[in-house]
């Protein structure tokens, strides 16, 4: 390009660059929806309110994309937690159109609605707006001892790998997929009324380790969950499994654990 901005001889500036054209085309094919975001600051507000925004979306736009667009362009104060944007870190759980879902794993187009309402997860304390506190979930998770327990786990010069067959792995690997997003605890009807309930997330993890044949902590863990606010508070309503974004199926893990406690499984 020459100094005054004119193109060198022989070159012609296209009226619109191909990428710009593509962008315009995509933009004109985009639809709009109303995004309602729940706003609540526990330090200053007594109830939550909703802020509404018109957002453009494509077939592939996720709810998280839309929230972040609003956050960078219209309201910087929106409190939202996210990290991986690919259903791996478990940070972005929220109530989307009435159901607990991952915002990064939910496309606006799949909601099939002119209105997208996002609220913080139920059964968790609100930090601000859409971000909730995970202290209780982490505490119950820790309580069931989420690690392999055995006497000979100290590494010595004699230590070898613990061998497992593919069949052994199959017994627990589904439960090892838990990303601690808390959607299951948010959907659970027992969690809705009992804050001391250990919850589907931790119970599913108790099963994950009990079913692992390298682990020797079965009795220890069964004792931890066999208490008044423990496993017996589950009524197999299945809502945890209905909302789990990783196919963990906590409801199955919980009933299988009960099988151990009732003596049907060894």
């Amino acid at each position: 390009m020459t100094k005054d901005g004119a193109l060198p001889k022989g070159f012609e500036r296209p009226s619109r660059s191909p990428s710009q054209e593509k962008y315009e085309k995509v933009k004109s094919s985009s639809k709009t929806t109303t995004l309602r975001i729940s706003k609540f600051n526990p330090e200053s507000d007594s109830t939550s309110t909703f802020s509404e925004f018109k957002v453009h979306y494509q077939r592939w736009t996720t709810v998280l994309d839309a929230i972040l667009e609003v956050k960078s362009n219209y309201d910087h104060s929106i409190g939202v937690r996210y990290s991986c944007r690919q259903a791996t870190c478990g940070s972005c759980g929220m109530i989307i159109n009435g159901k607990p879902r991952l915002a990064c794993f939910t496309k606006i187009s799949e909601l099939d609605s002119d209105l997208v309402t996002v609220e913080p997860m139920n059964n968790f304390p609100i930090i601000r707006d859409l971000a909730v506190g995970f202290e209780r979930l982490i505490a119950t998770h820790k309580r069931i001892k989420p690690y392999i327990i055995r006497d000979d786990s100290e590494v010595t010069s004699e230590t070898k790998e613990f061998l497992q067959s593919p069949e052994d792995v199959e017994k627990y690997i589904q439960f090892a997929g838990c990303i601690k997003c808390g959607l299951c605890n948010s959907a659970c009807p027992t969690m809705a009324t009992d804050s001391s309930f250990v919850g589907p997330q931790a119970l599913a993890q108790a099963y994950r380790y009990v079913a692992d044949n390298r682990d020797k902590g079965k009795d220890e863990r069964l004792k931890i969950i066999d208490e008044p606010h423990g496993i017996w508070r589950c009524h197999f309503a299945g809502s945890c499994s209905q909302v789990c974004p990783k196919g963990v199926d906590p409801a199955m893990g919980i009933q299988l654990l009960r099988g151990y406690l009732l003596g049907y499984r060894k």
Binding site: A192, F236, S239, G247, M252, R258, G259, Y264
Partner: protein, 142 residues
């Protein structure tokens, strides 16, 4: 409350959002409480026998009214659903009929919410409806 966003009884009792299993959970609770209520009333009703034949007969007449018929029809329905779904729950909660754990694969259909369980719920509801119709037929002599 807003701070903790615990859903409370309202969320616990809202059956609409999570599929038929959550509806069954709700029905189980309602019918369990309904049966408990009926059971207490039933003890009171039958204890009237101690006050002699007249008292007993006047008590029985209550069940011969339209309200009495509707009430008894509901009791029949509650009994049948609660028993049918109760058997499903006892089997499931003992760890049977849930499918086997396996590597999770998209779209992650949960195996514990399988067709066997759904079918049991629908059959329990269907049997309850049939029993209610049969009961109505007997009570109204059709």
């Amino acid at each position: 409350m807003e701070k903790d966003r615990k859903e409370g009884i309202k969320g616990m009792a809202n059956p609409g959002r999570y599929g038929i299993e959550r509806v069954a959970y709700w029905l189980m609770r309602i019918t369990g409480l309904g049966l408990l209520f009926y059971f207490i009333g039933h003890i009171y009703e039958t204890s009237n026998l101690l006050d002699g034949k007249a008292a007993w007969n006047s008590m029985l007449e209550l069940t011969q009214t339209t309200e009495g018929h509707i009430f008894l029809t509901l009791v029949i329905g509650m009994c049948v659903f609660h028993t049918g779904n109760g058997i499903r729950l006892m089997i499931g909660q003992a760890g049977f009929g849930l499918g086997k754990p396996s590597r999770a694969d998209y779209p992650y259909t949960p195996s514990s919410l399988n067709m066997k369980n759904k079918l049991c719920i629908y059959v329990s509801i269907g049997l309850a409806a049939l029993a209610m119709m049969y009961g109505l037929g007997v009570m109204y002599d059709v």
